[in-house]
């Protein structure tokens, strides 16, 4: 699927600011990076640095920004059907059962009943939730809810998967299991994955390219390549630990330096 060297996401000079009570609140300033097709990318940075904002821009939901954002070579629009967005907590509709939640995107696209059934069954089996299809989201555990959200995105057969802190509300064991499951899905389908995280370990475990953002307004602090993502046992290697230390050093001194300055703690 991935032609060599082609870019799925290309962001150049992106600045975003929010309007609030006639005041302009800058969220991102002059952000540039790119993500090759079929690769994974992790965005990491302190709270409030604009990570979610960046995902909103990539999904096309947020329209007021300046700069250049290309997805699969074309200017980003919200109607791009092959982009899927998974938000942290509120992705699932409480009034729809698991099956109907997963089928929602297909419903909106007007797919036939039979096609819908086949696709929903396939993705729910993939995430191991077919048995739970008649439950409401409130009857699921946090991990099962997150898997339902992933299944809903996968049902649309996306080539770009955007995830906002997908595993942050889960316990450590469930988180590791789902991280591995996400890698398996990615290795099988080779879609492009961009995920936001606040965990250094998660960024290194999942992101072939790691983009470090610094405090508000968010800027790119550094971009780290991490090609061994997906190798068996990567989490236990010395390289993994070395990278963890390196990223922590990059992210933490920044905190010290900026907390002395104005504005960070509001």
């Amino acid at each position: 699927m991935s032609a060599n060297g082609e870019l799925m996401v290309r962001v150049r000079g992106l600045s975003v600011s929010y309007q609030q009570q006639n005041k302009e609140i800058p969220a991102l300033r002059d952000v540039s990076f790119s993500v090759p097709k079929g690769s994974t990318c992790a965005l990491i940075g302190p709270s409030g640095c604009g990570k979610s904002t960046l995902l909103y821009v990539l999904s096309g939901l947020l329209r007021s920004w300046s700069g250049e954002v290309l997805v699969d070579g074309a200017p980003v629009t919200s109607c791009r059907r092959q982009t899927a967005l998974i938000l942290q907590d509120y992705g699932l509709l409480p009034w729809k059962k698991v099956y109907d939640n997963v089928a929602l995107g297909l419903d909106i696209r007007g797919e036939s009943r039979e096609k819908k059934y086949i696709k929903v069954k396939r993705v729910l089996n993939e995430v191991g939730l077919w048995e739970m299809r008649q439950r409401y989201p409130s009857q699921l555990s946090g991990g099962q809810r997150q898997r339902t959200g992933i299944a809903r995105a996968l049902a649309l057969e996306p080539d770009l998967l955007l995830m906002d802190e997908p595993f942050s509300s889960l316990d450590a064991l469930t988180r590791e299991k789902l991280q591995r499951q996400l890698l398996e899905i990615w290795q099988e389908k080779r879609m492009t994955v961009v995920l936001v995280t606040h965990s250094i370990e998660e960024a290194i475990f999942l992101g072939q390219r790691i983009i470090l953002l610094s405090g508000s307004p968010g800027r790119v602090l550094d971009i780290v390549e991490n090609p061994r993502v997906g190798e068996a046992g990567y989490r236990k290697t010395a390289e993994f630990h070395a990278l963890t230390t390196k990223l922590r050093e990059k992210l933490v001194p920044e905190r010290v330096e900026i907390s002395g300055g104005a504005g960070r703690w509001k």
């Binding site: 992705g91 509709l93 009034w95 729809k96 419903d107 439950r135």
Partner: protein
Amino acid sequence: MNGRKWASALYVTFSVTFLLLGWELLSLAVNNPALPGPLPALTAFFRELAGGLWGHFLVSSYRVVISLVISLVLAVPCGMVMGREEKVDRLVAPLIYIIYPVPKIVFLPVLMVLLGIQDASKITLITLVVFFQILVPIRDAARGINPDLVNSVKSLGARRRDIYLHVVWPAVLPEVLTSLRIASGTAIAVLFFSETISSQEGLGYYLLDAWSRAVYTEMFAGIIAMSLLGFIIYTVLEHLERWACPWKYV
């Protein structure tokens, strides 16, 4: 499960007994024909039911139910649009807030002149009251929908129509039924008032007629009928909520 059913049946029996007992004691204490005990009142109720009371009951039920349905059909779309479309809301909200506190009941004489003294003026009055009582909660519920919920559905390719269908409508549905249930009490009060003024049918008329003839047991038959109407509507709406919003009860 079964045990719980038994327990709830027990509680109902207990509260009904308590109510009847209190009523009996009160009527004994007051010792005035204007407040008959439960036994003569209930006897009169069943006797009258076979007579004219049933017809009056049907007329009143018809008026209330039609009014509730019309209010619903008007208020739900209005409330959803006001809650979701800021431009519309900014235009309409000031108007709503001026009209909302006005006691709509004072328009009955005007309505009777314009629409006559038959069903139309009564239904319009009840609708006027109930419309505002459910419009405001629906609007607030629609506005309070988590933006991330809307955004994640938008990211699936939803257009405005899909958002209303899959997100806004189910999100406000519990609020619709709850506010309707609360408004049903007011609806019956307004109905009673409008039926006591130049009316020839309906429970309000029946009650006032018994009062003017000083037949107090019949008056109480009317009161029982009116309470029953309120109780039935309330219970139906409660069951409707359980049936229509199953995700709330899992």
